[in-house]
Symmetry: C2
Subunit: 467 residues, 2 copies
């Protein structure tokens, strides 16, 4: 019996303990059981001892076996359009990586913008901005495509984890990590769990917070945030090198290595461009976000940019199908069985008398800084976003404002720790910063985000009519 085996059992102990306590006043037994299963599943996600899909499958099948969720409903999350948006986007992102297009676009950004160390920072931000809407796994985008390039740039500048990490590497890694979170916040397809928020918005407010709505609300504060990041980071982690010539040589070599554009890359640019166009113009043609993604996938197959055999082996997509679809079902069940409304009633009593805006700001801050307690953005979203929507829904605030505040905070709050999400773990893991620096700068960056999104964001949201 190893320690890990014991840790596996923690969520079961917690669930059992809660069950012994019995439901609090006014909460129905079924709703209480569903809450226990949900909390235990989220707890298991946070422990990261078993794969996410396994935690979710266990929670799901337990709910089915004790008759809390009928099988028919339990599988609904696997046929949900938000789930399939992410699955299809993962499949497409796999093609972006396999064709080498992602790497080529990043290298091109660096070649064009990287004339100074700060220019390299801007190049990283630009790469994130281009890939942000298209690679829905922020881990694949930041950790898989961009972080390796950032690491190799640092090394080319003579800055290595063991040898003068602060001369350039720390700066570049911090810019990369935090830029990743900003683009994850900006686009519905910027982060795998974002559709959970859109789905909760649909459930609570009956609002279709679709791709173009999400992007519209996020584009201005997001761009301001990205534009300022390389500058503010010059103060928070000042690099000491002056010449970046070694990087420029290295990048030129890397681009030469890639050779001329392949036809697959050209077709991908066309297909991805069409998808972005269609996503932004839903008002004209009426095709939803998932429909457009499906079309993109079919075009990739029809034009043979990738074969079905290649796509079906992208097991990250199927892994996501299971955990996301299952988590969606659990989140729906906890609402349908009445836990969320019970919770909301109780919280409302405590919050009476607060001005709506004051309430929203308090909720946003609680949501943002509670991320210190979570080891995973996805679990944080799954556990809290829906509940906060319900609490805020009793105000007379425009739902778009409430959804936007929570939607954008959901990824931005990952700045706080070095374990919040895959790419952060990878950027930090490259070894250029110590934890203390990472936490300190993370806290300062959280003020930076909150200032931009509360000030620039609220002005922009006023302008587009969200309040």
């Amino acid at each position: 019996m190893e320690l890990n085996d014991l840790k596996v059992a923690y969520p079961i102990f917690i669930g059992f303990f809660l069950w012994l306590l019995g439901p609090p006043n006014g909460l129905e037994h079924d709703a209480f059981l569903m809450f226990i299963i949900f909390i235990s599943t989220i707890g298991s996600l946070l422990l990261r001892v078993v794969p996410m899909a396994m935690s979710v499958l266990i929670g799901l099948s337990f709910s089915i076996v004790i008759d809390l969720i009928p099988l028919k409903d339990a599988l609904k999350g696997f046929g949900d359009s938000t789930t399939w948006l992410v699955v299809i986007a993962f499949l497409i992102a796999g093609v972006i990586m396999e064709t080498g297009l992602g790497r080529r676009l990043s290298l091109m950004c660096i070649d064009m913008l990287g004339r100074s160390i700060m220019g390299l920072g801007y190049a990283i931000c630009a790469s994130e901005l281009i890939l942000g809407p298209l690679v829905p796994s922020n881990t694949a985008r930041g950790g898989g495509i961009i972080a390796p390039i950032v690491d190799s740039m640092s090394r080319a500048l003579g800055s290595e984890p063991e040898r003068s990490p602060k001369s350039a590497g720390e700066y570049l890694h911090l810019v990369g990590a935090h830029a990743n979170l900003i683009t994850a916040a900006m686009f519905l397809t910027g982060m795998a769990a974002n559709p959970l928020i859109a789905r909760a918005a649909q459930d609570v407010f009956q609002v279709d917070f679709d791709w173009s709505t999400w992007a519209l609300g996020g584009i201005v504060p997001g761009l301001v945030g990205l534009a300022g990041l390389p500058i503010i980071m010059m103060y928070l982690s000042p690099p000491t090198i002056h010449s970046i010539d070694p990087v420029r040589k290295r990048i030129s070599l890397d681009i030469a290595d890639l050779g001329p554009w392949t036809w697959q890359e050209r077709y991908m640019v066309l297909i991805l461009g069409s998808m972005l166009l269609l996503w932004s113009t839903k008002a004209i043609h009426g095709w939803g976000t998932t429909t457009v993604a499906l079309l993109g996938l079919v075009l990739i197959l029809v034009f043979k940019v990738a074969s079905w055999d290649q796509l079906v082996k992208n097991h990250k997509a199927w892994d996501t199908l299971i955990w996301l679809g299952g988590l969606l079902t659990l989140a729906t069940a906890i609402k349908d069985l009445g836990f969320i409304s019970w919770f909301s009633d109780h919280v409302d009593q405590g919050l009476e008398g607060l001005a709506p805006f004051g309430l929203l700001i308090i909720l946003a801050l609680i949501y943002f800084y509670s991320m210190y307690l979570f080891s995973m953005l996805t679990a944080h979203i799954a556990a809290l976003a829906g509940a906060i929507f319900v609490v805020a829904s009793d105000t007379n605030l425009d739902p778009y404002l409430i959804i936007g505040v929570i939607a954008y905070s959901s990824s931005l709050c990952g700045c706080l720790t070095n374990y919040s999400t895959g790419p952060i773990i990878i950027y930090f893991g490259n070894g250029y910063s110590n934890p203390k620096t990472w936490f300190k700068i993370g806290l300062l960056i959280s003020f930076y985000h909150l200032t931009i999104w509360f000030v620039v964001g609220s002005l922009w949201w006023k302008f587009i009519g969200w309040w």
Copy 2:
């Protein structure tokens, strides 16, 4: 432009041609369009030029884009319990293969039963019977596990495709191929497309033709068919060798090679045994077929017989999710949009005056022998099973009888050709028979099947109260 590229376009030409013709009298435009998409998709499956999942995805996205199926409904097939039964069963079957348990069980059957050439035939039938309910891809079971053993037995007996194929190899291969179809017919989980039939039964008759019902109706005629197969094949393709000692030596060596049972194999036997028990005792606990399969999967994960990482890489399961889920949606849509009832009305007019039993027999024979025109059991089921149910539903016959006749015929009719389904293609492809022999014996075996299932079957079904 290769020939295959041209063949890809055939279904589009057919669809376009039908569209030019316009809908026949009394058929609504939407129903007609849906029919065209469905027929083109089935046509594309039959051509086997592109992967099944790709054909289905194209048909599905076309239906969404032209607004025939709303996106919400279009994804329902991916959250359907029949689809997930098959997906989970594929995942479990992958573990049966990876742990080596499937091979071990087959070898043990041969070791125990294989005392003569006919005994080897019985050993093959016994292997199929044991693995039939558990390995839902008849291709994985017949083609992946058993056919390689059959081939190696034949070679051990000195019977090779190039050298005296008829001395033993043809006999063993024919027994293997036709035994595979019988076990595919006997169990809901014996063949990947069987749940399509159960689903159609639910749609047309509101009858839950679940795992135990399916197995109950099929067990007696199925066992009779398996018991007679090695004997009748002695006449249809008489082997000439007398001693099978070389095989016995070979099998002993193979079993010795496997070594002692691993704990994974032991756990798998326990888990699979529990699943079979729970599947057969639904009346007591009320858990459906899919719930039990999900439980089995979770137990495999919890007891670490396989890791989630291994399971998620079983891309055959995800491939099946896409084609089966999509096909289910298309089949539902063609019914919901009114094509099936229009078709049924027209056929009914032509069939008036026929006695119900006569009608059922005619329908069964049409269904069975129309397999000559299909290159794939799945496409045959998807195209015809639902329509036949609808036509037969106007009689006063017990729905269980109608469903049973079609359900069991669906795999048995694969006996007719050498291209009907994966394992047949593989057994034939091993090269021990020429096509003419295969077709001739296939036709004779079809008489064998029809006699058993019409005579023994109908007596048995009378006994269990199906008519």
